[in-house]
Symmetry: C2
Subunit: 135 residues, 2 copies
DNA sequence: CTCCGTGCAAATACTTTGCAAAGCG
DNA sequence: CGCTTTGCAAAGTATTTGCACGGAG
């Protein structure tokens, strides 16, 4: 019907939402967000497709916070800030590279390992929770 | 019986094990390790005490990997390497500070947040899983 | 007596999985 | 027809919690 697509309709909808979402969503959030427009979507399908995307290298996991895994479809190297109050996650603009190849070499020698990737997470309070000043 | 102590016998045993453990243990590992010498220890007690230690600032969580939370009683600022094969966690000697106060300031301004702490995790293959060479 | 710590088991919460049916080329 | 995707519900797994008991002071 449409031009050739690689994904089923539901898979495509899930992926598109992940790409456009700026909140580093949970599986539950994806499910709830799509439910109105795809009433017969099931949570298992969301989990399965997220798993597929991860295996394909289309998304990555930021980690598990407050009991729920958070995902990111922005595969460029960047760091995150997470608010320990509301668990909002923000991208840290990567204009500055905190960790470079030299650091990889340093750690690889120190630890006798092979490094594939790294993650930096900053923890703190976001401006909305830090209610002393407006955002 | 003993000199004044702050902790109950079980709490003390759990904390001492956490301090001496070099493997960034899980609650389950702590439980299994102490079970032989404390046969009536229960897993709930381990979880509860770990929670107490965390609230007291005696230990911190490194994150959840392979479905289990990993803890560290070394409260000095340092980074970790984690093997994506066997989930072994190694300390990265902090002779080099990867992230300093300037970076905190940079991120705080960029994101309009207040930063309390940060974590760096390197992912890769440890020398034991990288079986091409001996360790 | 009172309080804190504990064992035990049940409850939680998120995620994964088995299976049969539906979808699609 | 054959392979993929899905809904549904059940299972799985790590962790948390309710409750009554027990020990220390």
């Amino acid at each position: 019907m449409h031009a050739k697509r690689n994904f089923s309709a539901k898979r495509e909808a899930i992926y598109k939402l992940l790409v456009s979402a700026k909140n580093h969503p949970t599986a539950e959030w994806v499910y709830e967000s799509l439910k109105p427009e795809i009433p017969d979507l099931s949570l298992g399908t969301v989990y399965r497709n997220i798993s597929v995307f991860r295996e394909m290298g289309l998304i990555k996991s930021i980690g598990i916070f407050n009991g729920q895994e958070r995902f990111d479809a922005d595969m460029s190297q960047h760091s995150h800030f997470i608010c320990t109050e509301c668990f909002k996650i923000l991208d840290v603009p990567s204009g500055k590279k905190f960790v470079d190849g030299n650091i990889y070499s340093f750690v690889e020698k120190e630890c006798n390992v092979t490094i594939k990737s790294h993650n930096i997470i900053f923890y703190g309070i976001c401006c909305m929770c830090n209610n002393s000043h407006k955002c």
